[in-house]
Amino acid sequence: MNSNPELEQERPVARGGLWQTVVAALGRVGITPLGLALLIIIAILPNVSPFNQEHILRWLIAGAFLGAQAVAFDFTSGFINVVNFGFAAMLGLGAYTSALLANTAPYLVLKPGITPWIGIWVGALVAGLVGLLLGMLTLRLRGIYAAVMAWFVGIALMGLATNLTTVTRGSMGLHPITLLATNDNRPYFYIILGMLVLIYVTLNLVTKSTIGLAFKAIGQNIDAARASGINPTKYRVFNFALSCTFAGLLGGFYAHYYGSLTPQTLMHTSKTVEVLAIVYIGGRGTLWGGVAFAFPFIFFIEYLRSNLTNLPGLQLVIYGVLMMLVMIYYPAGLSGLYYWAEAKVRTMLSRRHTLPANERV
């Protein structure tokens, strides 16, 4: 016997220092080893059959798009407890800004012709500024008030987009140039995946920093937070504006990927409700809950849509009911289920590894 029996027992637990560093670094941006594995799988998927079919790729893109929205939405709803009910309108702002900046078609007055690669960032900025303004005006008061104001503003914005026909062509919509010349979906997938990772990493860095601590403090006891020198409104406004910025960015992607843009399809309250449902079923306050749920959600919806054409909207009813059930009975959502399962597995595994001393070989 040339191996120490005690080391034998500990082997499954400790590994080399490099692994620890990597895990820790990823942990700082909210990516667990499992999450990393899933991310890599998703990234590889478009190159693997049957996932490299065009329609499946579209579903993957839709999933990533919805997931990215969920992250930005959860940042506000889960961390400062404000439901941005005008979220879809923020996407619209980004989309229209970028689309209009890129326009070279003669049927509109303005033809700046700026490349969407820059345009989408301008769109993000615009959405962020509007979010900043809205936040400054409404976040002094209770969450429900800000939510309703955001909702009203969203309605007004959608109405504006529909009515300023000389600028936006109203309900006929715009047909902005796409980001890439190719018809292949794959590069777009990597673009949106990149955006998703960018948003996820950024927001995780924020929530795990002292700013995130301030969010928590405000949520737990607002007076104590104030007494500690934290200005709740400032932090709320920062959160809201950042979330809106990313919404605008995603709107830009939408415009220059789908190449078609109308107020109803992007800015309607029902679109916000979809993101909201994903976030809540997935588990709010986790940032990853909505993303994880977004992919199966899209796949399920699209599958039902193509196979159960005689029951339109069934999937939506199912999700609505699911969301209500989650809210009443299991507010932690699917992420709560995951943590519970993870804890169970952990206790099971640790029991197998810690044998009492006299039973060790």
Partner: protein, 350 residues
């Protein structure tokens, strides 16, 4: 909820709970009067009639919403779906009757048939209201009171989602309407044409609102409803069954919204998303006058109808979702508790 006895000075006191001068209310009041005059002069009395009819319906919808806010502390996002249910129920009852009447004309039946639809809508609304309240809100209430307002709001968002998509699924997305309820020539007076359908809708709205008012002010149960909206603990202490009152209130609100939908079937055909505008407008009203303010909601219904008609008149119907909303946003920025003040617990403090 600031209601008290029915005498006129009390009503004023009830609408304006604060004794200091209420600038936003004055501004809005003056603005409304100006708009009303403009509409009457430029658009003609026909437009004013439209405003009154619409106002009556918004008032009916908003009273229910205000009650739900005040008594149950729920921001009810699915209130428009109650309107939709009423419209569908009325259509389901009236359309076959109407078809029958084509082949077998009967003076009696043609007068009564629309009412049959409306009564069916009220019953359907009341029953569905009870079911929803017991199944959903009572359950949430008994599970957790934490973060109630937000949770209840999101729950109603989910409910709205389920109901609209469920309607699309079961009944279908097509518009189901009727061109008119009563096949009689419109009334003519003072150079104004007024269709009987609209007159009846307006009359129903007034009668129901009046009945509701008397119910709330004079009856034991009505008083109990107001009590619950003011102090839940106090209400329990005097022997009021909170759960029962909550169910009653929600059922009442759903039934009145359903009636609104039914009475306007000739104007708004029944389809899954028909509740969207009534939802928006009743929310505008309630936020404008202050959450939970029932008498204010009645007045507010007419004010918002004024804004709506004025927008239609001077800017075109396309702007109907922009300008009233923009006005709402501005008013709320200036007076977050609404122009008449809010009585709803815990919505404003931060």
């Amino acid at each position: 909820m600031s209601t008290s006895t029915i005498q006129l000075p009390r009503v004023r006191q009830a609408i304006k709970p604060s004794s200091r001068r209420n600038t936003p209310a004055v501004v809005v009041g003056v603005l409304s009067l100006v708009i009303a005059v403009l509409i009457g002069v430029i658009g003609g009395p026909a437009q004013l009639i439209t405003t009154l009819v619409t106002g009556g319906i918004w008032a009916l919808m908003s009273v229910g919403l205000a009650l739900i806010f005040g008594v149950m502390n729920i921001p009810h996002f699915a209130h428009g779906e109650s309107f939709m249910l009423g419209a569908f129920t009325a259509w389901l009852v009236f359309a076959p009757l109407n078809r029958y009447l084509q082949g077998h004309p009967s003076a009696f039946l043609s007068v009564v048939a629309p009412f049959a639809g409306m009564i069916a809508a009220v019953i359907a609304g009341a029953v569905i209201g009870v079911v929803i309240e017991r199944l959903i809100f009572a359950t949430l209430r008994h599970r957790t009171k934490e973060g109630w307002i937000m949770n209840a709001f999101l729950l109603t968002v989910g409910l709205s989602y389920v109901l609209t998509n469920g309607a699309t699924l079961t009944i279908g997305p097509d518009y189901r309407g009727v061109p008119q309820y009563w096949d009689v020539p419109p009334l003519q007076f003072l150079g104004i044409r007024l269709t009987v359908d609209r007159l009846v809708a307006f009359a129903i709205a007034l009668v129901v609102i009046g009945a509701l008012w008397i119910f709330l002010q004079r009856t034991n149960t009505g008083r109990a409803i107001r009590a619950v909206s003011q102090d839940e603990t106090g209400a329990q202490m005097v022997g009021i069954n909170l759960d029962g009152i909550q169910t009653l209130t929600f059922s009442l609100a759903t039934a009145t919204a359903a009636l609104a939908g039914a009475s306007l079937l000739f104007m708004y055909p029944a389809y899954p998303m028909v509740g969207l505008n009534p939802l928006y407008y009743s929310w505008y009203v309630v936020m404008l006058v202050g959450l939970g303010n029932v008498p204010g909601a009645i007045l507010g219904g007419f004010i918002v109808a004024l804004f709506q008609t004025a927008t239609q008149q001077f800017f075109g119907i396309a702007w109907i979702n922009v300008i009233p909303t923009a006005i709402m946003v501005i008013v709320l920025l200036v007076a977050p508790s609404g122009i008449f003040g809010s009585e709803v617990k815990g919505v404003q403090e931060q």
